[in-house]
């Protein structure tokens, strides 16, 4: 410790300035964490049924600290069975999509990539449509089939892309082309299903495709959390490799990075996170594309900070959007996917106009 301090006294001016930028990035990540907390608190408070901050606080305390503040059963149910799972679902799904997006943009060296670039979204959509229209499973278990199908087809699509990439060389271009092919395949198949489905079924499919958080339960929150929290440290571990990949395969290789391996493993992990997030909530758009951009604009492209920052931004955006979706037309609840898409448009226009560079 002392030796370190003595060492740091000898720091040059450049090094001091650099350390400052690192500190600023850490502060930003911390700030995002606080902001997420604040929005979560606001989100518990709003909803079609006014509950009162005090009652909500009591009901939360009662469950966590086994206190016995006076609190109605209904309040407790609304808070614990509806609002909290929904809030946590927004957080983990938002973080998961942003993580997938950051990874894909880095891996494909393409700022326009999103977690859906490999065709995951349309494959998941097809899986869900298959469950809804072709009626996989019994009525009572249809929900389960939607989730299972969406997850399986999402992973199937990305495995096909990865499989092709293994045969040919896994360059960003070949991966994107294969992804586009999968996307068209599954959208065509979804359209075919929709053409054959009844009006109600098609409505259900469209609703699913828009993406919404209405079916959040603690179990589902738990499953997505385990995957998101499990994959995050892996991405962080390879942060330097991702940094190297963004500057080019050749240079990355010369720095001892196995470019092809990192690319394939990264894609597999990103697909897993994305599939697990969207299979429960549908294909919520733009979060995975926009979050890494915002984060890069503020703290730069270093993946050591990009991953945590963009996950937090994704969580914040989805939670804020869903809270807005629950309130603007209350008691009508909009599918959050519509809102995030709206959100994406001005943000991108802003990015184009404000930034004079060709990237961000």
């Amino acid at each position: 410790m002392l030796a370190e301090m003595r060492e740091s006294k000898k720091e040059t001016k450049t090094q001091r300035l650099y350390s400052q930028t690192i500190r600023r990035k850490l502060i930003f990540v911390f700030f995002l964490l606080v902001l997420l907390g604040v929005i979560a608190v606001v989100a518990v408070n709003v909803g079609s049924v006014p509950l009162g901050a005090e009652n909500i606080l009591f009901s939360i305390c009662n469950r966590i600290f086994f206190t016995s503040f006076p609190c109605r059963e209904l309040t407790s149910t609304i808070v614990w069975e509806l609002r909290l799972p929904r809030i946590f679902m927004a957080i983990v799904v938002g973080a998961g999509l942003a993580m997938g997006g950051s990874a894909l943009q880095g891996i494909l060296k393409n700022p326009l990539a999103s977690p859906y670039t490999l065709g995951i979204a349309s494959a998941a959509g097809f899986g869900a449509s298959l469950a809804i229209i072709a009626g996989f499973g019994l009525l009572g278990q249809q929900n389960l089939w939607i989730v299972a199908n969406a997850f399986i087809f999402a992973l199937f699509s990305s495995s096909v892309v990865l499989g092709l990439a293994r045969v040919r060389k896994a360059t960003p271009e070949s991966l994107i082309l294969a992804g586009v092919a999968m996307m068209f395949l599954f959208s065509a198949m979804t359209s075919l299903l929709q053409y054959m489905g009844t009006e109600e079924q098609v409505t259900a499919v469209v609703f699913w495709l828009l993406g919404n958080l209405s079916k959040a339960t603690w179990l589902r929150v738990g499953i997505v959390s385990v995957i998101v929290l499990g994959v995050f440290p892996l991405f962080m571990r390879y942060a330097w490799d991702f940094n190297a990949l963004t500057i080019g395969d050749e240079t990355a290789e010369s720095l001892g990075v196995n470019a092809v391996k990192i690319r394939l493993v990264g894609l597999a992990l990103a697909s897993l996170v994305t599939a697990s997030a969207i299979c429960f909530v549908g294909t919520i758009g733009f979060i995975g594309l926009v979050s890494p951009h915002i984060s890069r604009m503020i703290i730069g492209g270093d993946h050591r900070f990009l991953f945590p920052a963009s996950c937090l931004i994704g969580a914040i955006l989805l939670l804020a959007a869903d809270t807005a979706a629950r309130t603007i037309l209350s008691p009508l609840i909009l599918p959050v996917g519509i809102l995030t898409s709206f959100l994406g448009v001005p943000l991108f226009l802003y990015l184009i106009i404000r930034r004079r560079k060709e990237y961000w």
Binding site: G248, E253, S254, G256
Partner: protein, 254 residues
Amino acid sequence: MKLRIEGINFRYNSRLVLKNVSLEVGEGEIMTLIGPNGSGKTTLLRCIMGTVTPERGNVLITGRQISKIKKKDLARCIAYVSQNESTNFPVTVFDAILMGRKPYLSWNPGSRDFKIVCEVLQTLSLEELALRDLNELSGGEKQKVLIARAIVQEPEIILLDEPTSNLDLKHQLEVLETIKGLARERKISVIMAMHDLNLAPRYSDKIAMLKSGEVFSVGTPHQVITSENIKEVYGVEATVYNHHDAPYVVAGKA
């Protein structure tokens, strides 16, 4: 002998790109690869840094076959400065150079890593640019940053693919002086691919002239840069003068 290339054959889509290439580079020596477009210069560099494996022949570093060296260890030994590196993402000059420490990092860079980066920034007078975005720099500045990255990699061998292309005259000389300094002071062996037949001899100990994947001629600049060789390899009539002890080429007509 620092680097030995023994009878390399490399095939790309069934076309033989390198034919029986053998070369030797000593410690602190600068060897320049010249030859027309498509003569195999870049492919040869790739074989040396191990990103592609030749179908026949070996590359040896101080007697060890590179195919048997682990990637990470190889990265501590050979650095590569690519011809046109570009990224769609923001990266500061400091971070771009720090990346050269990747083969040594566990995860978090330590004070030694920072110290090395700062020293190199100072040596190449890049300090003022340290926190600027790499993509905002001029071609010459950027090339220096890429060389700085190669230096912090603390390699024994540096490979450069056309380090002076796209640079103005002053930056060309600056970059080549820097490279020469590395070879002389740090005893780093340098292998670079170049097109400029007049700059190459001034900064090289040895020149290897490639013609359709074969070493056509190798030796001192005076031995290799001759009007016969230029006629044979480039198909250009040229007169070679002697200017301050270096061959100087004035091209006639193609």
